[in-house]
């Protein structure tokens, strides 16, 4: 179950809650504004934990089941906080045929989490993307927006070590 051990209350600042209430208030009277509201909430807080979804549901006057329905449908909404370093692994066709899956597996093994998750120490999060437009460099990943190309699984460890210090 996602977000079962929710501790988000401690992670969200007072300012963020206030900002969230303002976002909800702005969208309150517009029907069909849930997705936009979730976007802005995620931009503000970084992720959409249970408490945030409940606050949005209350504010918009819709069932929480409806909010979670949208959050759980779209891959771009996350119920977990992003890590300090965000790793995007390209699984587009070009990268894939050049072995992106073994690169992804290596990253997952090294950090000990699956794509879509955040490591316990909050250091890394991994997500899968479709194409970065850098097919010539495939397999390619980006960490905090910086691209690393022509990867093989044995190149992963030294790259991650740079971010681990």
């Amino acid at each position: 179950m996602p977000c079962a051990e929710c501790t988000c209350k401690d992670k969200i600042t007072k300012e963020q809650w206030e900002g969230l209430d303002a976002v909800v208030a702005k969208h309150k009277s517009t029907r069909g504004s849930l997705i936009q509201c979730l976007h802005e909430a995620q931009e503000l807080i970084g992720f959409l934990p249970i408490e945030v979804q409940k606050r949005i549901a209350d504010g918009l006057g819709i069932p929480v089941a409806d909010v979670y329905s949208v959050v759980s449908f779209y891959a771009l909404f996350s119920t977990q906080p992003k890590g300090e370093h965000e790793i995007s692994v390209c699984l587009g066709t070009a990268c894939y045929v050049r072995g992106a899956d073994s690169v992804l597996n290596e990253i997952q093994d090294q950090i000990g989490i699956k794509a879509g998750e955040t490591s316990k120490d909050g250091k890394f999060s991994i997500n899968v993307v479709r194409c970065m437009g850098a097919c010539g460099l495939g397999p390619v990943i980006s960490i905090d927006g910086q691209t690393h190309g022509r990867l093989k699984s044995d190149k992963i460890k030294p790259i991650l070590e740079k971010y681990n210090s």
Partner: protein, 584 residues
């Protein structure tokens, strides 16, 4: 009007009609699964595909509106083949356990597979798996049998206005569930069971209590008593092929005796008692400046909903327990004493049209007899299963009478089963108490009857009333009746904002009232509800006693035991309190 041809037949229907409805007017049935007229018209299941000349590909007939000159073929080889393939694909992600499924024989997927002549499993592959949710006392959710038709989602959101479930996740992982896939007992679900009534498969069912009831019946040390709710007698017959609305009270009593219950009693007895207590409470509030409007508390789905969504309005609720729980409290006190039976050996069963009643009897405060007041609740469906299990056919049984003393009741109690019924029963009694006059033949308060969502009426009291009711002289008493939780919420928003003009409000959680409850036979729809309501009022008319305060057994109960309405004993056994659940 729009003219079109369906299967070569020229028809003309109103603009805006969908193909599936247009076909129905021409006597052509297009198979469907997710479709519910006016409630779920989303083309999710693709079972209703038909061929429309000139259209790109096949179209779903439940979402496509008719157009002038349209040529529709519902039975072209392409349409038939596509529909069959759709059903085969649904089956490929469905367990093959029809033999032991509680919905077998009443499952729409099974029926479709049969109708389409599906004799082999066309596609075998991975099947989605999610854990069953058995967290509540009322409803069991088995997502593996869910075909994602979203009927439950629609009925919960659009009819009840609750939205306790929705589709969660995406693609193959999609599951119909509460938020965060929480177990249902940690959500604001009212347990009304309307989702169970509309589920086409066995994905949503009542929590079965037949096993524990059989065990009690088979235990010679137990004295097993049963009570039957007003709305069961006009619906149980449908389970045995009778017309909806058929009144089967006597046959049901006979069946319950054959099943082995030691005493067969009637919830109608405590419905009459409820009217005395609740009517007195209303008058007490009106005379003493108590909280008004007062709102009925018989419907446990409504109560749970109110506790979740109107936790700040709980003091408007009558403190009266529901008839089921009044019965339970009296069975193990008054009845035990009167019959000389150890209350600890009494096992108290109720037969209810309701899934929320299963939740209600488990509420921790419902132990005022010193024991669990009601041990087990059976829905109408479960009773039908027990009758079939015993090889009995309701049609064949000779009618029998209820046992005394809890079998004596009035027409006012019978109508508790229909929306407006509690209000009407209360009016019959309260009006006579206040005015000291006899209503005579004018017992029918028809303004509060029928399927309209919110009904209102008012009664002008005479100018000169005798004490202690002189305070109410000339007052225009105003009443409202709401059924479905969505309508209830409209009424409650006015109560909350102090803009309600009413003195007394009746709320029942289910459409049509208890006769349309979540424990009633599968196939409950608008027409059946209307027929059951007709059966209910016919039963009322057929009875000599039609006012709760005329019930001699209730009078005896007060004389022998309770002493007076709202008295000490009543408070102990017949009244309750509520819990603010707004933080859940």
């Amino acid at each position: 009007m729009v003219n079109l041809t369906i299967n070569g037949k020229s028809i003309s229907v109103l603009e805006g009609t969908t193909i599936i409805e247009a076909a129905r007017t021409a006597g052509i049935r297009i198979p469907s699964l997710c479709y519910m007229k006016g409630i779920n018209e989303i083309g999710a299941c693709r079972v209703c595909l038909v061929e429309v000349e000139g259209a790109r590909g096949l179209v779903t007939s439940c979402t496509t509106k008719v157009a002038e000159g349209m040529v529709v073929r519902t039975n072209s080889p392409a349409a038939k083949q596509a529909r069959k393939a759709v059903v085969e694909l649904i089956i490929s992600n469905h367990p093959y356990d029809c033999l032991k499924c509680v919905r077998s024989g009443k499952c729409e997927l099974q029926q479709l597979a049969n109708d389409m002549g599906i004799r082999e499993i066309a596609y075998e592959g991975e099947r989605a798996h999610h854990e069953q949710d058995k967290s509540t006392f009322s409803i069991v959710r088995d997502p593996d049998k869910c075909i994602l038709c979203r009927r439950c989602v629609a009925v919960c959101a659009k009819v009840q206005g609750v939205g306790a479930v929705n589709t969660q996740g995406r693609g193959f992982e999609t599951v119909v569930a509460p938020e965060f896939e929480l177990p249902m007992n940690s959500t604001s679900c009212a347990m009304c069971g309307q989702c169970v009534l509309v589920c086409p498969t066995g994905a949503l069912t009542e929590r079965d209590s037949t096993g524990e009831v059989w065990r009690a019946i088979n235990d010679p040390a137990k004295h097993v008593v049963v009570q039957t709710a007003p709305a069961v007698r006009v619906a149980l017959g449908e389970e045995f092929g009778m017309e909806p609305g058929s009144l089967v009270t006597g046959k049901m009593v006979a069946a319950l005796r054959r099943l082995g219950f030691d005493k067969v009693f009637d919830t109608d007895f405590t419905a009459d008692l409820t009217i005395i207590e609740e009517g007195t409470e209303l008058l007490h509030r009106a005379l003493s400046g108590g909280k008004l409007p007062m709102i009925t508390s018989c419907s446990p789905g409504w109560i749970k909903y109110c506790e979740h969504y109107y936790g700040d309005c709980l003091d408007h609720l009558s403190t009266c327990k529901s008839p089921q729980q009044m019965f339970g409290a009296l069975a193990k006190t008054y009845y035990a004493k009167k019959a000389g039976i150890d209350p600890g050996s009494i096992y108290s069963v109720s037969v209810m049209p309701c899934t929320a009643k299963k939740f209600e009897c488990e509420r921790p405060e419902m132990v005022s007899s010193g024991f669990k007041d009601v041990d087990a609740v059976l829905t109408t469906r479960e009773l039908a299963r027990m009758i079939r299990e015993s090889g009995l056919d309701l049609n064949e049984l000779e009618p029998e009478e209820y046992d005394a003393p809890f079998g004596i009741s009035t027409g006012a109690a019978v109508i508790f089963g229909a929306t407006g019924g509690v209000m009407e029963a209360a009016l019959r009694t309260v009006y006579e108490i206040i005015t000291g006059t006899d209503l005579g033949e004018n017992l029918d308060f028809v303004d509060v009857r029928g399927m309209e969502g919110i009904k209102q009426m008012s009664v002008k009291l005479p100018e000169k009333l005798a004490a202690p009711y002189d305070k109410l002289s000339g007052l225009e008493l105003k009443f409202a009746v709401a059924h479905t939780l969505k309508n209830a919420s409209q009424v409650m928003d006015m109560v909350r904002s102090n803009t309600s003009p009413w003195h007394f409000i009746e709320v029942m959680a289910c459409p049509g009232g208890c006769i349309g409850g979540g424990g009633q036979p599968i196939g409950t729809d608008y027409d059946r509800r209307v027929m059951r309501i007709e059966g209910t009022y016919a039963a009322d008319r057929s009875l000599k006693m039609r006012k709760s305060h005329d019930n001699p057994a209730v009078r005896e109960l007060y004389n022998d035991y309770l002493i007076e309405p709202l008295g000490h004993k009543s408070h102990e056994l017949l009244h309750t309190h509520y819990e603010d659940r707004s933080q859940v």
